[in-house]
């Protein structure tokens, strides 16, 4: 085949509009680079978000309640989730598991032992055990037990230690001390009042409430409950990704609220995603125009050599041979462009990985599989468009 192609090279001048072709090639290179960067940025971002190397725990827990507005004040029923609303929340794709926060329907007064002279009105809440970040043997209650295990919010102890105690000239207390304190818990309704021992078993970062085991809560609500079941005004969900924009949108749309701090990342993520999408979009547009110019260039080459190609066909050159020859003139350049963009992206990725590693954000040093797939896809597309153009115009001669 080679000597024949050597002769074809002298007959079919591909030199016409060479500058245009090179411009289109540069365009293709930039397009490919933008697309690959978009793909790689996307996969880097996913790595930062989901990879186990960057997170201790992948899932996160959110306590959700309705936003209290001025209009709702004094009507506590309005902050209660209806069964339909609960069903809707459960159905959401980002809800991995779901639990109700049950609140106490009785009065609680907690007293410190001895002569500490500390007593406070309080409330209890309970969540299913699987939502707790405090695990321990002490966390159990069965009917007849006089000791109630209690989990306090970590923030509560912090408020006391760093706010209250300092201003009141009271001693700061360690977690161990609090756990060792035997508390006296008075549970009452309007008729009866009983005394129990309270035992702090842990501190929760996850749920900002005074928690008791669900089994105790059910029993005590039954025994001391003053009202009929009040309904649920707080629910807890487990979600694999609290920065999921769908989640944030769902909360906003329904007037729900949660610990905003956990959602903050969502905005950053949305911005990054938008930028990445815009970059990828421009890449695609550029790719489209590059393809257009390539097609026009091929058309120009074939049109400018129409007589020569006609004579070649008359002499017995197969359209297949012409197609192969023409594609061979262009395709190697595309492959070179593909390799160059891959090298550039690899360089960028290496640099980005090193920069990010300094901030303890770990991404892989080499471009991932999606980038290679992207190159293959773009090159495949360019090849197919070229092939179709060549075939069309060669067959039309």
């Amino acid at each position: 085949m080679r000597p024949f192609f050597e002769l074809l090279k002298k007959i079919i001048q591909t030199g016409v509009g060479k500058t245009r072709f090179l411009m289109a090639a540069v365009g293709l290179g930039i397009a490919m680079l933008l697309i690959l960067i978009a793909i790689q940025a996307h996969s880097n971002f996913s790595q930062l978000l989901y990879s186990s190397r960057n997170q201790n725990e992948t899932a996160d827990f959110l306590v959700i309640n309705k936003t209290i507005t001025n209009a709702m004040m004094g009507q506590s029923a309005k902050s209660i989730f209806t069964p339909e609303e609960i069903a809707t929340i459960k159905k959401q794709p980002f809800v991995q598991s779901f639990g109700l926060v049950t609140s106490s329907q009785y009065k609680v007064v907690v007293q410190a032992p001895g002569d500490l002279h500390f007593a406070t009105d309080m409330f209890f809440e309970a969540v299913p055990d699987s939502f707790l970040d405090v695990k321990g043997q002490d966390w159990k209650w069965s009917e007849g037990d006089r000791t109630i295990p209690i989990i306090l919010p970590n923030d509560f102890l912090n408020l006391y230690n760093f706010g209250f105690s300092l201003s009141q000239d009271l001693p700061q207390i360690s977690q161990e001390t609090v756990k060792a304190l035997p508390l006296q818990v008075n549970i009452s309704n309007n008729q009866v009042s009983d005394q129990y021992m309270g035992h702090i078993v842990g501190f929760s970062d996850r749920i900002s409430s005074f928690l008791v085991p669900a089994s105790f809560m059910a029993w005590a609500n039954e025994k001391y409950g003053m009202t009929t079941a009040a309904g649920t005004s707080r629910v807890i969900i487990k979600t694999p990704d609290p920065s999921n924009p769908d989640l944030v949108k769902f909360l906003e749309d329904n007037g729900y609220t949660t610990n905003q701090d956990k959602l903050k990342f969502s905005k950053t993520r949305l911005i990054v995603q938008t930028i990445v999408s815009v970059v990828g979009f421009f890449g695609l547009i550029l790719l489209f125009f590059a393809l257009l110019v390539f097609s026009m260039f091929i058309q120009l080459v074939i049109a400018s050599c129409k007589r020569e190609i006609q004579l070649l066909v008359i002499l017995g050159t197969a359209p297949k041979q012409l197609q192969r020859y023409l594609l061979r003139q262009f395709v190697p350049l595309y492959i070179v462009i593909g390799i160059l963009s891959l090298l550039l992206v690899a360089g960028l990725q290496y640099w980005a990985a090193r920069e990010l590693a300094q901030h303890e954000m770990l991404v892989s040093t080499w471009p991932g599989v999606p980038v290679f797939a992207g190159i293959a896809l773009v090159l495949g597309l360019v090849y197919i468009v070229n092939l179709l153009t060549v075939r069309k115009y060669v067959n039309n001669i």
Binding site: M1, F4, L7, K10, L311, V313, L315, G316, A318, P319
Partner: protein, 216 residues
Amino acid sequence: MQIQLNQLMPIPLQDKLRQRSSDIWNQDVTFQPGSLVKIKAPSGTGKTTLIHYLYHIRYDYTGKVQVNGQPWQSYNKNEIAAMRQRDISIVFQDLRLFEQLSARENISLKRVMEPKPYYPAEKIDEMAARLNVSHILEQSGKTLSYGERQRIAIIRALVQPFQWLLMDEPFSHLDEENTQRAAALIADECKARNAGFILTDLDNDQHFPYDVHYHL
């Protein structure tokens, strides 16, 4: 390879040709493989048209041109190309060389068009020597005289395999001596392949031992 004509009639010459008798037009004619066919035709009776129909580069006719029992139209472009590389060769009246190629390249083009060339490259020099054109092989097609071009076109037609060689006034620009040399080379090459040819010309001639004569 058998070539068969069924009631072939060129549409543009229809009226003119119906008024005179012809051995080819509007007849059923079969060219037997390996036969040396001479078609004598006065000017304007469609000599070149017939060659183009046989080679399937003109299609404005009624009737049929059948190759191996199939009309030309039933072959696709790649099949036709393969036949032009292996089964049918041609010397055009208007020669049709590439001016941007040298004489040698013009010949080589047909030699290497097929992935496995029929002849080695040296064969070109051998044939060029027989036709007295060795000295112009490296010249560009543009600078050649008609006689030289005609001989290059003949050599080009002979460096490929074929079963049929179509020639349209192949010696029109050659003197007697060169005609003899060219005819001898063509006869040798046809014999080597057991191939036949169809030659059209204006007059009678004794260049070949023809098997069949037709009057167009």
